[in-house]
């Protein structure tokens, strides 16, 4: 008996880039959790998503490296392949409404051919460190930036991974808490830690392989200067883009 033909699928005619945020409780979603939510979200929204061919068709959604589980983000990216052209604003609205609160669609733009993900070479992160005084943080940052290298170890499912945290950090400074309380996320944590010292770091970190995460930088700060948060730090990715774009902006 001949092999049954894989189901044919409609071709993709439009590629959209979706910028979304991971906020509040949804910061605890892993990459796979977010992917599952989007696969269901596009179907709930009734979007004409393209599928891969074969016996086990998958919706054509591709994800740029997601923020780690536990980190919030204002700048996550993925792209969707659609089988019928849609208005970007429509997709933005429908998709956002179909996703759980906290996985929020911010912007949808047509993908210009010539992979935009190549531009996501760096991330700007903000890290709230409860229990650390801004002065101690300033000192730790200065010490870290003066280092030639900052070897750290991280325990992963595959064993201990060794990284140079310093090499990936392009910029790092201590910023004011002003304004954070007014943001959609982060306000809650800022209020919680309002009574004690609380330093806020901003850093621009290059996408390297293996990836250096903000937590690796914090490990290096702790190893170097002994600063450590009294409860888990709240990490938020504020932006992704080219190194030039992110370091050109000053937020402090």
């Amino acid at each position: 008996m001949p092999e049954p033909d894989p189901r044919s699928q409609l071709p993709a005619v439009q590629h959209l880039v979706v910028r979304y945020a991971k906020r509040g409780k949804m910061r605890f979603a892993s990459h796979r959790d977010v992917a599952r939510a989007f696969e269901r979200g596009v179907r709930r929204a009734g979007l004409p998503i393209a599928y891969s061919a074969g016996f086990s068709p998958h919706p054509k959604i591709s994800y740029a490296g997601g923020a780690p589980t536990g980190a919030a983000s204002e700048a996550e990216y993925l792209s969707l392949a659609l089988t019928a052209r849609q208005a970007e604003t429509q997709v933005c609205q429908r998709l956002d409404a179909a996703l759980p609160d906290g996985i929020d669609v911010i912007e949808v733009t047509e993908e210009i051919s010539g992979a935009p993900k190549g531009n996501l070479e760096a991330s700007e992160w903000r890290v709230v460190l409860p229990g650390v005084s801004p002065a101690a943080a300033e000192q730790a940052v200065a010490g870290f930036l003066a280092l030639g290298e900052a070897p750290v170890e991280r325990l992963t499912d595959k064993g201990v991974r060794r990284l140079d945290a310093r090499a990936a950090v392009v910029e790092m400074n201590v910023i004011d808490a002003d304004g954070i309380a007014a943001e959609p996320d982060g306000g809650q944590r800022a209020a919680m830690t309002g009574h004690e010292d609380c330093a806020i770091l901003r850093m621009v970190v290059l996408q390297t392989a293996p990836a250096v995460r903000p937590e690796d930088v914090l490990t290096a700060l702790r190893d170097g200067s002994g600063i450590a948060a009294s409860s888990p730090p709240l990490t938020t990715r504020l932006a992704q883009g080219s190194r030039a774009l992110l370091t050109g902006e000053t937020r402090s």
Binding site: R7, G46, R189, M192
Partner: protein
């Protein structure tokens, strides 16, 4: 007064645990209602991990039924894994609901749905983390009522001391009856205190504390009698007679976390009268009540649109037995042609599967696993258990499946069934080889597979085998080893046949918990104090801990682990669940048990859907009747489809 969320205290713990997403709620389909606008508040608990509990149909149905009512609020709570339990104890964070992170102790009711006896210790973890006294007798009017339901609550005696109320049978109407009584009692100023409420609930449900159990010197039960006037001598199960009037879940909860079933499930009928003698579900859920093809169609259309799931599960105890299963499968596959939504039948009888189902289940490009359960390896043994499936049925069915493009078929068996010999189990190897040979011929290729999955049989209450001696775990293990050897023996088939088995020891503990009486509660408490958690998970289960606990908790009693498990009971023995009525006539069950072990060979029982009533007792005592189609109605594909933009 509003109840505060524990989330600010929980949040700092979450970065330190595995899979924190399971604890945060916020799923599509979840509901957070105004606390103060509700006067009856339920915390619904599935006593296992979120990944297992979230897809549970019972909880999802009751959650929706309750939340649809004004003035009633329902939230969900699950067991936290030991890593979070430890941190919660350190920081004093109580058991919480995932919906609004309210402390479970603030609710009026903690409703716990038991699908398995192995979750009994998980109940104690939930109670303890909630700050609710473990023993019903130590609770006061400030504590939630602890109410159990589900299949594993049909003999709640082992956990009777930990429960206030037990509901038998279908929950949809029962939770509303309980809600009304609680509301009335609260509005009237809580007359009689907690006892007063329990007395009024004793009219609609089982309140264990109002029954005294006495024992004979040899350890058997002497009698179980009410200790209050007005409390009924026996308690009956609830039966929802019109499934079309209860089309739940309508808007299923869609998890962000990964769970064991990732699909929209609709129950296509409830109950089963195939009469498999080992099957508690088939006995306690009688009679068969079909949901109509039209209701199934509209539930699927709405459920898929609301959830975004890409798989529809047509649930029941034996889905291919629906009187219009072919029409349902054809019409739904028509509706979803081209949308990459697939159908699955999680429970399919070998003799009811057919070419139409094979085609429709695979039409949308995916072939989810195909599983059949012959249960017994030899024809003789299948007669004993009344699983009337012949070897020819099985070969014909797998041939159809392999010819339709499936490469993999799973076959489920049980080991340790009454009258079973080594030869009955070894016959499974023979059967598996025939399956592969037939499959290779039908598919015209050699790379097809078949997986044999086998576990130890546990006799269950309210079944004909409730009197049976459970097979010793050592015997089960020896037979499983022998079967493994036989499956590997023939090189021509070795790699084509997979083998999965569950060893006999957890089954013996499940047997203790299934047919135990109130004295077993002490064993459960001892095991939990000794660290028992997630006993249904092999990586957490400890046989030694249960042996230890049974020994210490039953010291001085004439009973023990073997007495509860490997001992055959006789007709006259009072069984711990004799006062709990699933409708089955005790004499009919006894006769069916005798028929199964008759020396001249087992007598079989037909399905009463298609043959005259054999008076199992359910319909006559419960005032119910079989409800099956066909209705003759077909589904209009285009009208069912949710709107898709741009098509």
């Amino acid at each position: 007064m509003p109840v505060e969320s524990v989330f600010p205290r929980l949040e700092p713990l979450l970065p330190r645990v595995r899979k924190p997403i399971q604890y945060v709620g916020g799923e599509v389909g979840s509901v957070v209602k105004d606390w103060d606008a509700a006067d009856v508040r339920w915390a619904l608990c599935y006593p296992d991990a979120y990944e297992v509990g979230l897809p549970n149909q019972g909880i999802q149905i009751l959650y929706e039924v309750l939340n649809e009512r004004d003035g009633v609020l329902a939230e969900r709570t699950y067991n936290v894994w030991p890593d979070l339990e430890e941190l919660m104890r350190e920081s004093g964070v109580p058991q919480f609901t995932v919906d609004a992170h309210r402390p479970v102790s603030a609710f009026d009711v903690l409703g716990v749905s038991f699908a398995s006896e192995m979750a009994y210790t998980n109940l104690l973890t939930v109670l303890d983390l909630a700050g609710i006294p473990l023993l019903s007798s130590e609770r006061s009017v400030v504590h939630p009522l602890v109410i159990a339901g589900g299949h594993a609550a049909f003999n709640p005696e082992p956990i009777a001391d930990f429960l206030d109320v037990v509901v038998l049978g279908d929950g949809e109407q029962a939770v509303l009856a309980v809600t009304d009584l609680i509301r009335g009692w609260k509005r009237a100023g809580q007359p009689g205190g907690r006892d007063g409420l329990l007395l009024s609930l004793a009219a609609v449900a089982y309140v264990p504390r109002f029954y005294d159990v006495s024992y004979l010197p040899d350890g058997r039960i002497s009698k179980i009698v009410p200790n209050r006037p007005g409390v009924p001598a026996t308690v009956s199960k609830y039966t929802v007679m019109d499934l079309d009037a209860w089309p739940y879940p309508r808007a299923p909860i869609v998890p962000v976390a990964e769970t064991v079933h990732e699909r929209y499930s609709v129950e296509i009928f409830r109950g089963c009268t195939r009469g498999c003698r080992f099957c508690q579900a088939g006995m306690i859920t009688r009679p068969v009540r079909e949901r109509s093809i039209t209701t199934i169609g509209s539930m699927v259309a709405a459920g898929v649109a609301a959830s975004g799931f890409d798989e529809v599960g047509l649930l029941s105890l034996s889905s291919a037995d629906h009187s219009e299963i072919n029409e349902i499968a054809v019409d739904l596959a028509d509706c979803y042609e081209g949308t990459n939504v697939g159908l699955s039948l999680p429970s399919t009888r070998v003799d009811a599967f057919n070419v139409t189902l094979a085609d429709e289940l695979s039409r949308n490009g995916r072939r989810s696993g195909l599983t059949f359960a012959p249960e017994g390896g030899s024809e003789r043994l299948r007669k004993v258990i009344n699983k009337m499936v012949t070897e020819e049925d099985l070969i014909r069915t797998v041939t159809t499946a392999y010819a339709s493009g499936w490469r993999q078929v799973k076959l489920y068996f049980m080991c340790g069934l009454p009258t079973e010999t080594d030869a009955d189990v070894l016959a499974i190897a023979q059967l598996a080889r025939r399956v592969i040979a037939a499959g290779r011929a039908a598919a015209g290729r050699r790379d097809i597979r078949c997986t044999v999955s086998i576990g130890g049989f546990v006799p269950k209450p309210h079944t004909p085998f409730q009197w049976a001696a459970q097979c010793e775990p050592e015997v089960v293990d020896a037979r499983l080893r022998a079967l493994g050897g036989a499956l590997r023996a023939d090189r021509a088939y070795g790699k084509a046949i997979g083998y999965r088995y569950h060893d006999g020891r957890p089954g013996q503990i499940e047997g203790l918990l299934s047919r135990g009486d109130r004295r077993v509660g002490r064993v459960i408490l001892a095991a939990w104090r000794d660290g028992a958690r997630f006993d249904g998970w092999s990586e957490h289960f400890s046989y030694e801990r249960w042996l230890r606990s049974a020994e210490s908790a039953l010291v001085g009693e004439p009973v023990g682990l073997a007495w509860y498990t490997t001992r055959e009971r006789d007709y006259s023995e009072v069984l711990p669940w004799d006062h709990l009525d699933a409708g089955l006539d005790r004499d009919w069950l006894w006769q069916d048990w005798q028929d199964s072990i008759a020396p001249e060979g087992a007598a079989e029982v037909e399905d009463c859907r298609w043959t005259p009533c054999y008076e199992c007792g359910v319909c006559s005592t419960m005032g119910t009747e079989i409800q099956v189609g066909p209705t003759g109605v077909r589904l209009d594909g285009r009208r069912l489809l949710p709107v898709v933009v741009g098509r």
